[in-house]
Amino acid sequence: MPDNPYVPIPVRVQSVRVESDDRTLRTFDLAFGDDAEPFEYLPGQFCQLSILGKGEAAFGIASSPTEGESLRFTVNRVGTVTTALHYLKEGEELGLRGPLGNHYPVEKFKGQNVVLVGGGFAFTTLRSLATFLLANRSDYGDITVIYGARRPGLLLYRNELAEWEKRGDVKVHLTIDEPASGWDKAVGFVPTVTGKVRPSPKDAWAVVCGPPVMIKYTMPVLLDLGFAQDRVYTSLERRMKCGVGKCGRCNIGPKYVCTDGPVFSYAELASLPEGF
């Protein structure tokens, strides 16, 4: 981060593609200028993307630091800023502030099994994490990915998911909410599928990301399977402005999602009043 945490650094759209079949999600690869300072981050951190004149919004980093220098973000079109982002074309510039927030505890995961549970378009930082773990494959034990969306066309990063399925050193369980033609994998909500997959809690950590309702119903499943509260992590979203713990709107109890989070263990959340 530069001295002034409010000033974005310019980045360029290297590539952009439509990510979901309903065209509400686009994935951007962003490149830094030649004179940019090194950008060091870990899976789970986020950035503020800035369209000057429109505003800023926070996005989890979907790329892994093991992938090189560009950054990947997947943007759901909901408001003013995300709409402006969707209009960006290759080669155009935007502003970026980050990396912000904490990250998944990848150091703690070393030598251990990791279970990633994701739902919908919140899979971005889980992609970052999975890519990071796979790039350092020998550092970790079993890796399990459970990921669901409403329809096949809403699953993010489908090509990569297919590659992971082929690898053999990562167990991938994909699911959709309702049966669809051409879909031969699991059907059902993520919590149910998690219950069926029954990942072992032994020497294992779990990371859950998804819409609040999915997190709400997945947590008890994991706890029932024997995961300790402090071994289950999630990443939270709140409306943010400054991203650096000053503007005062993203707090959950005394914790600021932007600086104390966005990654929290279930044990931490259980001690906070509002939760997810």
């Binding site: 935007l94 709107r249 109890g253």
Partner: protein
Amino acid sequence: MSSSLRIAKPDLDELVSALTSRYRLFGPVDVDSATMLREVKSADELALGAALDGPVKAAFFPQTETLLTYDGTRSEAPPGRDKPTAVIGVRPCDARSLLLLDKVFGTGKYRDPLWQRRHDDSLVIGLGCSAPLETCFCNSMGSGPFNAEGSDIMLTDVGDAFVAESCTDKGERFLKTAYKSQVQRPSQADLDKAGQARSKALAVLAPAADYSGVKTALAKLWESALWDEIALGCLSCGACAYLCPTCHCFDVQDETVPGTQQGRRVRIWDTCQASLFTKEASGHNPRPGSKERMRQRVMHKFSYFADNFGETACVGCGRCIRLCPADFDVRLVLERVMAEDRRPKTGDRATKNEERGTKKDVRHAG
């Protein structure tokens, strides 16, 4: 180390000149029906002794402040300052509020460059408060009408003069080096008058209330129906937050000059009482009603701030009571929070009461 000076009131302008030559000086100025903190150039602009309506934070954290300017996709931070900032004539409660704000903006992983630009090397000249109001409760918040905490120099009005005492090394240096007028020491009569002003102020002020149980009580009252009741007496405007010397939440907006790509990104005071404050682009709002927002405000000041910075984010200036359009009284909230904590638990009392008033109870809307 502390030195004291006598500044005859007609000589105040010399003090102000000494200040303005080194600082951007802010002080209380009467603007028709209100006393606001404004930049001042001479002593006759000052409304010393009046209860300041605008908060002192405005000198260091203005309501509307440029975060950066932009042209197309390029942006830059605003230029540096010419001079550090000084404030004069602020009450001890207000002086102390700056220490609390500095914890937010001046500490932590990210320090706020705009705050630093205005706050670093600043000089605070407090004015002992000889006329506390009915809404004042600084003494209940661990301070007092002549508390020097946060002030570098403290003035006391002794009739035809001010007694100026340095409270910090910075204040001492300023008095020694910058104020060059022929130095007068306060007479015994001055010191007696200053002492009388102090005791008079304490006599006017209501006895200090003990709010030490509030934080523990709040921890148990997250789900309490108390918040519904309290919220009924609030209009959900932002007067309290904007006028509060310790409220620091802000919004960020881009303003582009029409027809160009040039503009500025500004930060603007915001309030947790507004529904937009936490409303997400998707329409989801984690604090959907006035109950949740009221709870956030009270919790932030009396619980979360203490968790994060070891102090309560309230200096007892009473603006939020005095200037509230509904005469909402935060002291009553604190009392009710503690009372609720002491009550034996008998189920979800208030919700039942609301159903056609079967049970008998009264809750005033404040």
